[in-house]
């Protein structure tokens, strides 16, 4: 057939199509074009204002011929429908059926063979008043077998307006059409492009479960991925990870595109969005640098005020107010007591700061409240708070013996109260003192220590005032029986603090450990209660004491199990266990003596996450690292840590991911940005051989 004949044929067909007679009908004439017949069909024969309903463009290509999906692939052309609708009537975009993939040599196309229904939803406004609804669809397609023929048809229907009536003869058509549609899902999915690889992560358990070996991912963006090579699909429990080669003709980042996941059982379509580091994370990143522009005097004043406010925190106030009353009661030692107390508070603050700075220097990424990241400490604090609370409730006494302490011991007692005040203040300071402490941490050691000392001074300030200006004590109410009631009421915030500690513990160690800790707490409370009974009944004191020691022993036993149980839990969640936070100091220290693998990552980097899931935090790589005693350090650039920015710059990078293997006595080796287990293994083995 010559070009000329073909052209004549199309021409005649198009003319015919354009002048097809339209009757009031819910289906158009069938337009015959070379290798394809087209028809417009409505689900309803009669519709009403305010209604939405579906229409279908039915394309029937000859056997072996196909039309194209929204992304046609390496060649071809997606079918386009231009609608002509009366005022007040609108139409949605095409709901594409489940596509198929056609390989033609090295190239691939996506499309549909056989009866193809392109559904669109039409909405009629409430104010639509005409007696009929004319609908015209101008359809342009490309139909191909080995070669391609473009075609078009103008398809018209006219529906009556009245009470809605389904077209009985179209029920099968629309049920078939809907059976051919993929399910739609709102699963979260993001993609990015690194090293000419497109990585898509779908965050959903159901998506992950689609990966049964027969899954194919149809990418609904043209020129994003190479269509012919299938790429790789991997899954974890809750994520589906798709990797594809970037298309040679890739030019623009799509903001989002449809992703059609098809296996032998299900077909699901969802929307994938470009992964961008959110504006929020960039803003948050500047917080750390901002306070450094504050001058030192301001910061010290803030620290002083902050320390003062600590006295009002619910976990500190009960203990301190009692101490204040006690001081007011013993005016003779007031100054000395106040000084000893202040010394205790400041010393403890400075000590904590010193430990913090020392730990920082060794590279552990810690902030204030780091002690709260340790579940053992949280558990012990919970026990301490229960003891304090029970004491305040009057279950047992500790004061009785303290009353008889000599002068020297009195000083020690004040000092100890200061230490205790700081320890019990720490759960409250963590959430409230963030920024000032953040500032202190990034300062040279002497300045950081000064800031912490100022905090301590602020906290001790009320007592200093009491001690040196006895007049202040006049404002305090007179001691009396009310004190006991007040003391018992103060137990309530202590119990509540315990609840908060238990919550933190539970989040760290899991519900099983939490239950064990609660058992330990009850046994501990029982021990204290029997202890208290012994204090009240001197006759049975020995027996009660023995009983309470027994309970304490059991408490310790249960507590140990709770902690160990928690460690088992952590081991089963390897992502939190396997790596250490990167700092330049830690890396430098480690790389002298042993191999170090550095992973620079960020929460918003899809490629990074995919690499971690499929190549780094896998059994194979974990075993590999263990075998060669490789330390795995992870730097988190989510908030654009300037130290990491500098590190990246050293490798002429301005973004993540970056993977570097350090082997003692060798130059650092940069790994590719797209990792697999075997790439990591090869890099390690190569490094090992070249020693």
């Amino acid at each position: 057939m010559t070009v000329f004949q073909n052209t004549i044929r199309y021409f005649v067909a198009i003319i015919l199509a354009t002048f097809v007679m339209t009757a009031n009908a819910s289906e158009s004439e069938i337009v015959e074009q070379p290798h394809l017949r087209a028809q417009l069909i409505a689900e309803y024969s009669q519709v009403e204002a305010g209604q939405t309903f579906d229409v279908a463009v039915k394309l029937v290509p000859d056997a072996g011929w196909h039309t194209y999906w929204i992304n046609p692939g390496d060649s071809g052309l997606a079918t386009v429908i231009n609608w002509q609708l009366p005022e007040g009537v609108s139409v949605g975009s095409i709901q594409w059926p489940i596509a198929e993939k056609y390989n033609i040599g090295h190239l691939s196309n996506y499309g549909f063979e056989g009866d193809t229904y392109l559904l669109s939803t039409i909405s009629i406004s409430d104010s639509y008043a005409a007696a009929t609804l004319p609908i015209t669809a101008e359809v342009d397609w490309l139909v191909c077998e080995e070669y391609c023929i473009p075609g078009s048809a103008t398809l018209s229907i006219e529906l009556d307006v009245g009470s809605p009536q389904r077209a009985a003869s179209h029920i099968d058509v629309f049920s078939t059409a809907r059976n051919n549609l993929p399910e739609t899902a709102d699963w979260q999915a993001y993609f990015d492009i690194q090293d000419r690889q497109v990585t898509i992560i779908v965050n959903n358990e159901q998506a992950a479960s689609l990966d049964n070996g027969s899954l194919y991912a149809f990418i609904g963006a043209t020129e994003l991925v190479e269509h012919q090579p299938p790429g790789s699909i991997q899954s974890t429990e809750s994520e589906l990870i798709i990797r594809r080669d970037l298309n040679t003709y890739f030019h623009d980042y799509p903001e989002h595109f449809p992703l059609l996941l098809v296996n032998d059982k299900r077909a699901v379509q969802l929307e994938v969005h470009v992964a961008e580091q959110s504006a929020a994370s960039v803003n948050a990143g500047s917080i750390t640098s901002e306070p450094s522009s504050l001058n030192l005097t301001t910061v010290l004043l803030f620290a002083l005020a902050g320390g003062f406010i600590l006295n009002l925190m619910p976990c500190v106030f009960p203990v301190l107010s009692l101490k204040a009353l006690h001081l007011a009661d013993h005016r003779d030692h007031a100054r000395r007591d106040a000084l000893w107390y202040t010394a205790g508070v400041i010393m403890t603050f400075v000590l904590i700061a010193a430990v913090l700075i020392a730990l920082r220097a060794t590279g552990a990424a810690l902030g204030w409240g780091f002690q709260l990241q340790n579940p053992i400490l949280i558990g012990l604090l919970a026990l301490l708070f229960v003891a304090i609370a029970l004491n305040l409730s009057g279950v047992f006494q500790i004061g009785t013996s303290l009353m008889r302490l000599g002068q020297g011991q009195q000083q020690q007692s004040s000092f100890a109260t200061g230490v205790l005040a700081v320890v019990i203040a720490s759960p409250c300071t963590a959430p409230f003192m963030g920024i000032a402490l953040g500032f202190a941490i990034i300062q040279p050691a002497p300045i950081a220590l000064t800031i912490f000392a100022a905090l301590g001074l602020g906290m001790a300030l009320p007592f200093l005032l009491l001690g040196f200006f006895p007049l202040v004590a006049r404002w305090l109410p007179k001691p009396g029986a009310w004190m006991n009631t007040f003391k018992e009421w103060m137990a309530i915030p202590m119990y509540l603090t315990t609840v908060w500690l238990l919550w933190v513990f539970g989040r760290q160690a899991g519900i099983d450990s939490l239950a064990l800790l609660l058992v330990a707490l009850i046994l501990f409370a029982t021990a204290l209660w029997t202890w208290g009974k012994g204090q009240l009944q001197p006759s049975s004191k020995g027996r009660q004491m023995a009983l309470s020691w027994l309970f304490i022993a059991v408490t310790a036993f249960i507590f140990t199990i709770a902690i160990q149980n928690q460690q088992v839990g952590e081991r089963s969640a390897p992502t939190s266990q396997q790596w250490q936070a990167w700092t330049p100091e830690l890396q430098r220290e480690l790389q002298e003596t042993q191999p170090v693998f550095v992973n620079m990552t960020a929460d918003w980097c899809i490629t990074c996450l995919a690499n971690e899931r499929v190549a780094l935090e896998t059994e194979a790589t974990r075993a590999l690292f263990a075998e060669h005693e490789i330390r795995y350090l992870k730097g988190d650039w989510t908030l654009q840590d300037p130290r990491i920015t500098e590190y990246l710059a050293n490798y002429q990078r301005n973004g993540v991911p970056l993977y570097v293997l350090y082997w003692p006595g060798q130059e650092p080796k940069v790994l590719p940005q797209i990792l697999t287990n075997s790439i990591v293994r090869e890099a390690v083995e190569q490094a090992k051989q070249s020693i």
Binding site: H106, D140, P672, I679
Partner: protein, 208 residues
């Protein structure tokens, strides 16, 4: 440190890329890199190589005269006028046919010359790449698929002829002429604004 890490990166990446490409048999050309060499005979039996055109801007046009997308650009005289514009500026315009014998678009040397004169086309030569070697080297996917190579042999443009991927003749005038813009930029000694665009058209009918 950096210059030592680079070869490793390249090696590792090539290893990975090689593994991936093993299935595709395509070595995809990259803009900004030297264009792949070729050695193909034209309708007169003369051999053409990229090296012989060193110093000239070269345009490659993949074609298949029965492809509706090719027809769109010849019937509207768009392709011919581009060929003339380029000829005036001493550009070497090579039309390439990679259709295998027996497939759409495959022609004898005589038919090819006839098509050129019938359509009033003005390529420097029509290359007959029956076995698809040159097409595969350039990863030519569709007809028309356009390439611009600068006088230094660097690939400066690869992609579609324009921005509207249809077979509708009316769209030629409406489209942004990606290829023409790129060729004009290269002739002006500039880097084209868009060096890679979507190649649209009919699949090149390669021999399997």
């Amino acid at each position: 440190m950096n210059f030592k890490t680079k070869p490793f990166v390249r090696k590792a990446f090539l290893g990975l890329a090689g593994a991936l490409l093993a299935t595709t048999a395509f070595a995809n050309p990259e803009v900004g890199q030297p264009a792949p060499g070729f050695n193909v005979i034209d309708t007169q039996g003369e051999t053409h190589t990229l090296e012989q055109y060193q110093g000239s801007v070269v345009v490659l046009e993949w074609t298949n005269h029965d492809c509706p997308f090719v027809v769109k650009h010849y019937a509207t005289e768009n392709m011919q006028s581009l060929q003339r514009e380029m000829n005036e500026q001493d550009v070497v315009w090579l039309t390439v046919i990679s259709s295998a014998p027996g497939t759409q678009g495959h022609v004898s040397p005589e038919q090819a010359d006839e098509l050129t004169s019938n359509r009033n086309a003005a390529p420097a030569a029509v290359l007959l790449d029956e076995d698809g070697t040159m097409g595969r080297a350039y990863a030519a996917r569709v007809t028309p698929h356009m390439y611009v190579i600068d006088a230094d042999g660097i690939l400066q443009y690869a992609g579609g002829i324009d921005s509207i991927p249809t077979a509708n003749h009316d769209d030629v005038a409406r489209a942004e002429p990606y290829f023409a813009n790129a060729a004009r930029a290269v002739l002006a000694g500039e880097t084209p604004e868009r060096q890679v665009t979507r190649p649209y058209g009919c699949t090149v009918k390669y021999a399997d």
